[in-house]
């Protein structure tokens, strides 16, 4: 019996060793520039579900801007939170993606995704929404209330904390919870939360449906705040720079197109978000589509995220160079 259990233990130990030996292979990201993939495989992109900020991608897809630039792309994922997008980038499942600047910064700072910002996607475009019938008329009225954000350390979370601090509220005075953006309006309507901060079109839809009222737009909290970015995996950038540049060009063209043809953009937005044309047009008006990377904005994110204790960066300038580097240079925002 003893001999039997010993041999079982040894066998299991051997199996464990083999598994450990295989770990590096399992955890190593898929090589984006692997032979065979070069030139042939389409660029794998991702965006956030129902996030109107990512309209440039939808427009570029629908108008064939990527094809015009000579680059093949495929939507390899539609996600519900920026941290999920960052995880997929880190796992090598994506080459480039649209996501919030805050989650992108966190992932880059923590090393869970080796990414770099290629272009800005938008500034502003979120809002703090309260129940239509509530007595909350200013940020300071949120004391003791429950406020939902779509992710800890999301752009919306950072905006809320900035607003609370400016409204004279200490971090512990408001109950901040994380909730999926689609669940926010029903929860607000049912009185389970008192307010939420979300990206468009959720605030516009909450107002349109009569459930909510916009207490303040994110532009009121932080004018021209950078929001979403187009980020790329560094290994992909190194292996296929021309394609990355082509995607960035198509993105920039789509961004200009949105501003020049708001009606057409609203139709695309309605298609991808399921919103009505009127809702989409209203929501688009609350987002600034801008492809220029804003270094001062990223600096502010670093300050706020460090202040919240979410990241710790020793050499800020070096991080900025690495994270924004070429993109900041190209846009001349430096």
């Amino acid at each position: 019996m003893r001999a039997l259990s010993r041999s079982i233990a040894l066998g299991l130990a051997a199996a464990g060793l083999c598994a450990l030996a295989a770990l590096p292979a399992l955890t190593a990201p898929d090589a984006p520039g692997a032979p065979g993939a070069r030139g042939a495989a389409p660029v794998r992109l991702a965006y956030l579900q129902n996030d109107l900020h990512h309209l440039a991608l939808w427009l570029a897809l629908d108008k064939g801007f990527f094809r015009d630039e000579g680059v093949e792309v495929t939507v390899a994922g539609v996600f519900r939170a920026g941290s999920e997008v960052a995880g997929a980038l880190g796992a090598g499942q994506l080459d480039m993606a649209y996501l919030g600047e805050a989650p992108a910064t966190i992932a880059a700072a923590r090393g869970t995704a080796h990414i770099r910002v290629v272009a800005q996607v938008n500034t502003e475009g979120s809002a703090l929404v309260v129940n239509k019938t509530s007595a909350i008329n200013a940020v300071k009225d949120l004391r003791g209330k429950t406020v939902a954000v779509p992710g800890l350390s999301s752009v919306q979370d950072v905006l809320l904390r900035k607003a609370l601090a400016e409204g004279g509220l200490a971090p512990g005075e408001v109950n901040v919870i994380v909730l999926g953006a689609p669940e926010m309006t029903p929860a607000l309507r049912a009185g389970q939360i008192d307010a939420f901060v979300a990206w468009e079109p959720y605030p516009s839809r909450a107002s349109a449906s009569g459930a909510g009222r916009v207490l303040c737009a994110s532009a009121d909290i932080w004018p021209r705040h950078p929001c979403c970015v187009l980020a790329a995996d560094k290994a992909f950038l190194a292996a296929r720079p021309a394609e990355a540049a082509a995607v960035a060009r198509a993105h920039a063209r789509a961004t200009v197109y949105i501003n020049e043809h708001p009606d057409e953009a609203a139709a695309v937005a309605a298609k991808y978000t399921g919103a009505s044309l009127a809702e989409a047009a209203l929501a688009i008006g609350r987002v600034r589509y801008d492809a220029a990377v804003n270094v001062a904005g990223e600096r502010e994110y670093l300050r706020l995220l460090a202040q919240l204790g979410f990241i710790e960066i020793k050499d800020q300038e070096r991080f900025l160079d690495d994270f924004l580097g070429a993109a900041a240079g190209v846009s001349g925002a430096r």
Binding site: G16, V178, A187
Partner: protein, 259 residues
Amino acid sequence: MKKISLLLPCLLVGLWQLACTLGLVADDVVASPAGVLAGLADLCVSGMPPGRLLPGHILHSLERISLGFFLAASLGVPLGFCTGGNPRARALIMPLIDFFRPIPPLAWIPMAIIWFGIGFKSAVFIIFLGAFFPIALNTCIGVATVDRIYLDVARVFGASRLDIWRKVLLPGALPSIFTGLRLGLGIGWMTLVAAEFTGVKDGYGLGYMIMTARDLQRIDEVMAGMAVIGLIGLAIEWSLAKLAGCFALGRKAGRWIRI
């Protein structure tokens, strides 16, 4: 617990630490055991999200699981008895159970949120769905598969209907019932963590804690949260085994097997 039970976990943790120390795995993808311990300490001291400490998360999750499991057991066991002991009841009820059983509890989340909101009731409902079917089914099978000979012998000796239920069917089905309870609790636990991923009103729960740690890309805290869930599961499993021992299952109706 036997000494040998500790061998594999210790060996595994040792190898895992070794792999991390030697740099075989990148520390931004897999935290080392030491890193997980540090993450665990952070969860207890500063909390995740900051200010919400680990004991609060454990308490809230246990509260949800207890009520959900209690409801599932108090409905599932009687239903299992009913369908197991009576073929006509089985024919009546089983098709419905077999229809609802393959629907994953997580597929109910959107409905649960509409019906019960994002709080306590919603989580309890999801856990109930996860735990109910294994409990009902195993009880039913346990009762239905009690050897007919025992029933015949009892009848020959003039046992009443009540005697047959109390002295033959119940003891005969107990091992299967306990298997159902164990499975139900395990599945309930899994669904709870997933249900909490959607968001919870009070901001507490182990699943919620792991999700927010993910938002901050804190791999060490994510893994520490997983370890906590594993340890709680282990503790519950052992308590159930003890409970089974109290029922003297080992002597009367087959042995409790630790898997």
